[in-house]
Symmetry: C2
């Protein structure tokens, strides 16, 4: 039995009428994601433009500037000193987690809005400080979780809102890949450096099922339980594997795992009193998602075909700024994720359920 | 890319050369499963025969006896008194969980082997006593988890043994259905009576992912963490929903959920350092299982077609008895599951990780 559900993803349900723009961005950090994913997405966007590059590597910056046609190139010190601040309206922070705070502080001091990569910082206190400086400066801060602006994921939230699954009961989320497999693997990268990342698999990829569970449930966890391990010496000091359970109000749970040392998997399933929705794959950048909807003995499988999700994310952020409107993944939302990751590590250390 | 794996399920890898037989069974309990599933499976089996029925309802017993052609029909008191014990060699206990122990004690006293439905008892101490009386009497005790004798599940274990997924890392298991939905739903049934069942969803269906994780990993958990809830008044005193994480040695985890109050789902996924195997559905009786194997960017999907798994289970038990051989789900194995369910409830109550 096929289920009767809409299966189109061709609308920006969040788009607003805006005046002005484009929003001119300083991209702070030119690692793989900033250079190869975010900057092309900004080029493709309707409301954004890259006008400024900030990097610790003059060679990388010059090469990207040349490629993209950007005139303003700054070192981190020049950015921190506020040089050429007239060249941009907003800052996209895509550095290691533990370096987000100073860049956000600079942006706030300069009156620039901030789109900051996930997680917001390496621990909850630093994340809270980042949110506080933006609040005080009156600038908008958003954490760059793609899921909030990915059309198919928003579409799933609509089905949940409409009651397709009844009341949510249990979620399962998985995200894993082999961080150190293959010839290009870099055992010195910041994502497995506890000082720069704040943790391992949880901070980099475990935050996806965590944040997406919050997004789909439109609810925040009240307690967590977790287990971490790092059998491989390369992950000394960080979690190679993490399994955590989030407890939401009314007994709803999300059983999540993440791993830097396992084969690739990424999936989210949400089970309710009346039905179930599974998205697999879900968390990769611009993957073709398969959404399986089950209810009353029927099943419908939807293959998604949707626009560049990082482009969607930038335009979402830009239109919110231009319209002076609300954002779904604003400052406090991003802070809470890092409070939760703090609690997950505390639970794993102490062997106890930690209330939030 | 298709993966190169065998995909046939037509062999009993456990079958032994045996003399004698068939093993003559007393079926103790004539509820739905005993009557509609187990007795027909015994009829279909090669090494088993139903010769005796034990029931609290003379009408049900007479009707089943007539249907199946069984001459010996006993009340529970007659069974306990050892009447007509010459008519059977083994006992199949398929009563409510908290009534297993006295029936096992009777069987042991009579020198009869015991196949006992899962879980072995309603709590760990009673389960241990059941195993102890069988041990002392020198009779074989097996807990009737079908998964150990289901060919496709054994086949998956073979793939794991061969290293298909590398080293196991993380499992996810789900099992749920709406126990009280539909016109036939019985809100007075023993499966949601804490005194008779020892718990709710965990005791009836949560034991499947628990036991199957142990079976596939060939390893036992060292600690558990769990959360239970019962938002619906009908589940007062038992767990309507349960989410538990088993910690195995070397940081391996199994994130499991079960629910009596959610839409149907049943799935087990095992992720390793090199690959992943997903079985969905897995836990239903005689379902057509779909097994998805992933590795090195390739994927193979296997649809299973295999013989009646309850029939397999009975023949497995019978041939072990006839050959005086070892069993995989013997007494201590079944006791440990109930020790684990005790620990799961303790963890949920105390909000702590419980070591086993």
């Amino acid at each position: 039995m096929m289920l009767d559900v809409p299966t189109r993803f061709d609308e920006r349900d969040w788009e607003r009428d805006v005046d002005g723009g484009p929003v001119r961005f300083a991209v702070v950090g030119l690692g793989w994601f900033g250079r190869d994913v975010a900057i092309p997405a900004i080029e493709e966007s309707r409301f954004c433009e890259t006008t400024t590059l900030v990097s610790g590597s003059p060679e990388t910056a010059a090469s990207v500037a040349d490629e993209v046609g950007v005139e303003t190139v700054l070192t981190y010190d020049e950015y921190a000193a506020g040089e050429s601040a007239d060249a941009y309206d907003a800052v996209y922070v895509v550095t290691p987690n533990a370096l987000h705070l100073p860049h956000v502080e600079t942006a706030a001091a300069l009156g620039k809005h901030v789109l900051c990569e996930k997680p917001l910082e390496a621990d909850g206190d630093r994340a809270a400080q980042a949110a506080a400086v933006c609040e005080e400066a009156g600038v908008t801060l958003m954490t760059a979780y793609r899921m909030q602006t990915t059309r198919s994921v928003r579409w799933v939230r609509e089905r949940i809102r409409e009651g397709f699954i009844g009341e949510p009961v249990q979620l399962h989320g998985e995200f894993s890949f082999r961080m150190l497999a293959g010839e290009d693997a870099d055992p010195t990268q910041w994502r497995i450096d506890p000082d720069l990342a704040g943790g391992g698999a949880l901070m980099d990829i475990g935050v996806y099922p965590l944040n997406t569970a919050r997004f789909l449930l439109e609810s925040d966890p009240v307690a967590v339980r977790a287990t971490t391990s790092a059998p491989s010496p390369a992950f000394d000091g960080v979690d190679e594997h993490v399994a955590f359970t989030l407890e939401f109000p009314d007994g709803v749970t999300a059983s999540c795992t993440a791993s830097f040392g396992a084969a690739s998997a990424n999936r989210l399933a949400i089970l309710g009193t009346e039905g179930r929705i599974v998205i697999e794959p879900i968390f990769g950048v611009d993957v073709t998602r398969t959404i399986t909807l089950e209810r009353d003995g029927g099943r419908t499988v939807v293959e998604t075909d949707e626009p560049h999700e990082v482009c969607e994310e930038f335009d979402y952020f830009a239109t919110a700024i231009l319209a002076d409107g609300e954002l779904e993944a604003g400052g406090d939302h991003g802070v809470l994720d890092v409070r939760i990751t703090d609690a997950i590590y505390e639970s794993a250390d102490r062997g106890e359920r930690i209330e939030l």
